[in-house]
Amino acid sequence: MPQTLAQKLLARASGKASVHPGEIVTCKVDLAMMHDSGGPRRIAPLLAELGAKPWDPDKIVVITDHYLPAYDDESRNIIRIAQDWVKTAGVSRFHDNMGICHVVLPEQGHLKPGMFVVGGDSHSCTGGAFGAYVLGVGSTEMFGVVATGEIWVRVPQTILVDWQGRFGAAVSAKDAMLFLCGKLGLDGGDYQAVEYTGSAVSALSMQERMTLSNMTAEIGGQVGLVAPDDTTRAYLAAAGAGEIDTGQWHTDPGSALGAHHRFNAGDLPPQVAAPGSPTNTKGVGEYAGEKIDIAYIGACTGAKLDDLRMAAKVFKGRHAAPGVRLMVAPASRKDQKQAADEGTLDILIAAGAQILPNTCGVCAGYGEYRFAENEVIISSTARNFKGRMGADSAQVWLGSPYTVAASAIAGRITNPMDMIG
């Protein structure tokens, strides 16, 4: 029987020759990744309560990103708990203040195609871009994984999302995902596996593929997969992950699918989602002219090196409009360094950007920076639910880094095609 990529990954993790959708399997975990908010501060007390120890400290990665920079006693304590716990638990793969977990995990070479990974965050699906099954969970579930090395999964169907052709000059993976959110809705992924295929996806960089996988969370998918190829191989080799095997990690032709969506990348204009939900999406032209106070480029979704480059392409030689606050929080320290070395960061700073720490920042809404009453923001992040990034009355529009940059320059929501042609 032909098998989907998701089925093959779960069959391997559960030690079976094959699995079928609907079957409940117990998977052995190759890697457990957690951050400071859902990680040690929540699981350490549970481990103590049960007198349990981590099943394999070498398979645990801890990355601090939510409560950084720590700004009060509570946040300092949360970070301290993480720093202390990795020592007592014997976890050596600890990345403290290096960037957002979903970006740091592959950049540090921890992910490989074929792996079964559990991540303590809903955007853990980002790692699916590498052909790994990366399942997002809450902290009690993560405690279960750390205590046993296992987790149950109901084998999902696969929803194929196929993009043929090439995306336009100022169109990105973010636009593809906002479009998909609008098309399918917040539950369109139905907690199934979503796999991105087609010539337009093959042509994307690794970080752009990560954006596809990342926003699978916004359509309610369980995992967002991309079959690994030479682009994956090159990225992972540079990250020090070593040689990888791509051979079997793809969906077999003729596999039974839950749904198959086909789109033409060349037809997609830049997309913008109106405040309240990433599903409030239309072509940027429909919303052009909306006045903004803040342009925010941040998060695992929208401030990776490639996202910063997109913004810089628009900002080059230009400045944010008077009165518009431009905030840029590069997703990882490594991406920020590369952006600095190559001149991308200079362009952003010259455009008026305030460079913020390499953390989840306003996107998580846990930290010091939150948007104020009635502020109007255009953001390269993933979610704009009421109250998430600040006051209930803050109005957060979502767009690609191109669109955020173009809108910052004009002071109004603007089609980036008008600026880079």
């Binding site: 049960l50 009060d72 946040s75 303590g120 969970v137």
Partner: protein
Amino acid sequence: MTEDGKRNPRTWVYGDNVTTDSLAPGAFMKLGIAEIARHCLESVEPSFASTVARGDFVVGLRNFGAGSSREQAPEALRHLGVAAVLAQSYGGIFYRNAINLGLPVLVCADTARIKASDHLEVDPVAGKVRITNSGVVLDCEPIPPHLMAMLNDGGLVPHLKKRFAAQRSEACAGGSAT
């Protein structure tokens, strides 16, 4: 009021896509569950947290618990005494989190028929919701057996506690035999 003077359980009815951001607002996530729960659903219904009582039911339509993996979302409902959540579907992670924390979450295709003025009796084991004021009975999808076992134990932590205790006593029995 019931005959013994207790308040009847109330039914709190919401729509599609109740988000984890509204159930456990980010600004309070650094604090303990009691403080987070005080702000549960305040962006949707400001009086919810101060009025909800032990035994009440929360009803949604599609995709209840959409968004983040923060398990403080179902934990806040449990802390406030919510007896069960009924919805047509759930955010996948929210659903797992709720069961892990011992909060019954039932998939019921007909939640649109439930009104805030209704009184409910919910049997998670049988998968039945009875609207006592109208006599209407709604069917829920059965909870899979491995999750029902976890719910019966009170969630994943007591479930694993039981499993580890059984393993230890097995190991001890094995040890004494040799």
